[in-house]
């Protein structure tokens, strides 16, 4: 599912004109934020409370943007953090990295 979302984003990005450049940049930034937060959380470098709220904010921002599908994998990461399931978060990060 996460890979599909990434694919949707890439397809949409490829078809976008200049006007959407700002939104693309924003989506890229929040996706990168989500990945960084999750990576640091799996390494135990940031508290779960912060990771959850940062991932929620990233998911909200992505959902409101041009590429709402990109919010789905971030929401999954948030769920993994809520369950304190670091293995699941690592799996999701691996899938996103592929």
């Amino acid at each position: 599912m996460a890979r599909h979302a990434v694919l949707v984003v890439l397809l949409v990005l490829a078809g976008c004109g200049k006007d959407e450049a700002k939104e693309i940049e924003k989506a890229r930034s929040w996706s990168a934020t989500a990945i960084l937060v999750a990576e640091h959380w799996t390494r135990g470098e940031v508290p779960s409370a912060y990771a959850r709220s940062a991932l929620k904010k990233a998911a909200d921002q992505l959902a409101q943007g041009l590429f709402p599908a990109a919010a789905a994998p971030v929401a999954e990461l948030e769920l993994a953090v809520a369950r304190e399931d670091r293995a699941a978060a690592r799996r999701l990060l691996d899938e996103l990295g592929r």
């Binding site: 924003k26 930034s29 990168a32 960084l36 937060v37 940031v46 508290p47 912060y50 940062a54």
Partner: protein
């Protein structure tokens, strides 16, 4: 020896108190979006604020007046009240953004939304002002503010490229997003030359009863305190450029900025960022509340002084109480703290002439300053920077508002 210690403490508190929500937000966004290329804006602002802080100390020492008090006397109440009112409104927005920064620090730590913290943080600021003395407020928070030096340490730990950093001090325009770049440039200048800083410094000189023997120490405090303080703001830009920009993270919210110290300090990085943000914003909120109350009390000729018991300066105490309450209400309304910070910093740059021009007139008035009037260099630096910042702000703010819609 006592005076040397006083100067050393003054420099240390200037360094510890330099960073605030405005500096952190603007620098983090600048570094993550444009790399080192906005370092020049901090430098321009710093040169100007060194002159302004030195001038405000010199003014109070020589004339025995605070700036607000003297402006009212020199220009009359009618001419004074409109620009004064505009500055007060901007001060209120900046105060809300500082309280917001402290609330966000608590949100980062606990996950509880920043609005929930608005009342407790506002109450803590009010209580410190109500119970504390000027030294406790100024020195206590500024000494705690030395935690912000972690950004300078991070620059060395991360091994930033010094040649690239050097290029950042040469003003340039990026090929894309020029309006936002200019908006950030004026926000940085606004954050560096915050009028409350020199109004507070001027009132502090009176509270601390500085006499003519403080003219030279005042110069050292202004020069060294502001220079070293600005190094911290520059370090925030560099750290954000090194740790966030390569990943494509462009800081829009504090949640993103909180990641910037992790590569340098590991898990400590998160807590250092939270502590730096919380302490810097708390200190600035205290100074701003006081500076606003000082200005209003001096404008209307009320009894004022943080060293006085609240019942002996009741209207002064009521003013900071109302300001803090109003700022908390802005946060409770749900205004996003970082957006509020960036806009209030740009507005600060836009209204700078309203505070600075009358002050400059006073600094050149022999009735107030005698032989200690400003030299040409001081006048030229301040006029050039303030005019430049206000002009860019006039252009950049509408463009930023249009661009964000």
């Amino acid at each position: 020896v006592k005076k040397i210690l006083g100067v050393a403490l003054g420099i240390v508190t200037s360094i510890g108190g330099f960073l605030d929500a405005g500096s952190i937000a603007t620098s983090a966004q600048a570094g993550s979006s444009y790399g080192y290329s906005l370092l020049w804006a901090v430098l321009v602002g710093t040169v100007c604020v060194i002159f302004l802080v030195e001038m405000s100390g010199r003014f109070s020492i020589v004339s025995g007046h605070t700036i607000t008090d003297a402006v009212r006397k020199r220009f009359g109440f009618a001419a004074f009240i409109v620009p004064f009112g505009a500055s007060l409104l901007v001060n209120l927005l900046v105060l809300a953004s500082e309280l917001g920064g402290a609330c966000v620090a608590l949100q980062l730590l606990t996950g509880i939304r920043f609005q929930v913290w608005a009342i407790p943080v506002a109450a803590a600021v009010w209580l410190l002002l109500w119970l504390g003395t000027f030294d406790v407020v100024e020195d206590g928070t500024a000494l705690l503010g030395l935690v912000t030096l972690c950004f300078v340490v991070a620059v060395f730990l991360l091994g930033a490229e010094w040649r690239e950093i050097g290029r950042g001090f040469v003003p340039s325009l990026p090929a894309h997003e020029q309006p936002h770049y200019l908006f950030l440039a004026v926000s940085i200048i606004g954050a560096t030359i915050a009028p409350y800083l020199f109004l507070f410094y001027s009132s502090g000189a009176i509270e601390d009863k500085w006499d003519m023997s403080y003219l030279v120490p005042n110069r050292f405090i202004a020069l060294l305190g502001m220079s070293f303080g600005s190094l911290i703001a520059m370090s925030v830009i560099v750290v954000a450029a090194v740790t966030l920009q390569p990943h494509g993270v462009r800081v829009e919210q504090y949640e993103q900025a909180a990641l910037m110290l992790l590569p340098a300090f590991g898990s400590w990085g998160f807590y250092l960022f939270v502590a730096a943000l919380g302490v810097a914003c708390l200190g600035a909120a205290l100074e701003l509340s006081l500076a606003t109350a000082y200005s209003l009390a001096q404008a209307f000729g009320w009894q004022w002084g943080e060293n006085l018991e609240p019942r002996k300066a009741a209207r002064f105490a009521a003013t900071y109480t109302l300001c803090i309450a109003a700022a908390a209400l802005i946060l409770l309304a749900g205004v996003e703290p970082m957006k509020l910070t960036l806009f209030s910093m740009a507005l600060t740059a836009m209204v700078l002439p309203l505070s600075v021009v009358p002050f400059l007139v006073l600094m050149n008035d022999r009735q107030f300053m005698g032989e200690h009037v400003n030299g040409r260099l001081s006048n030229a630096v301040v006029v050039f920077t303030v005019a430049l910042a206000a002009l860019i702000a006039l252009v950049a703010i509408p463009l930023e508002i249009l661009g964000s819609q």
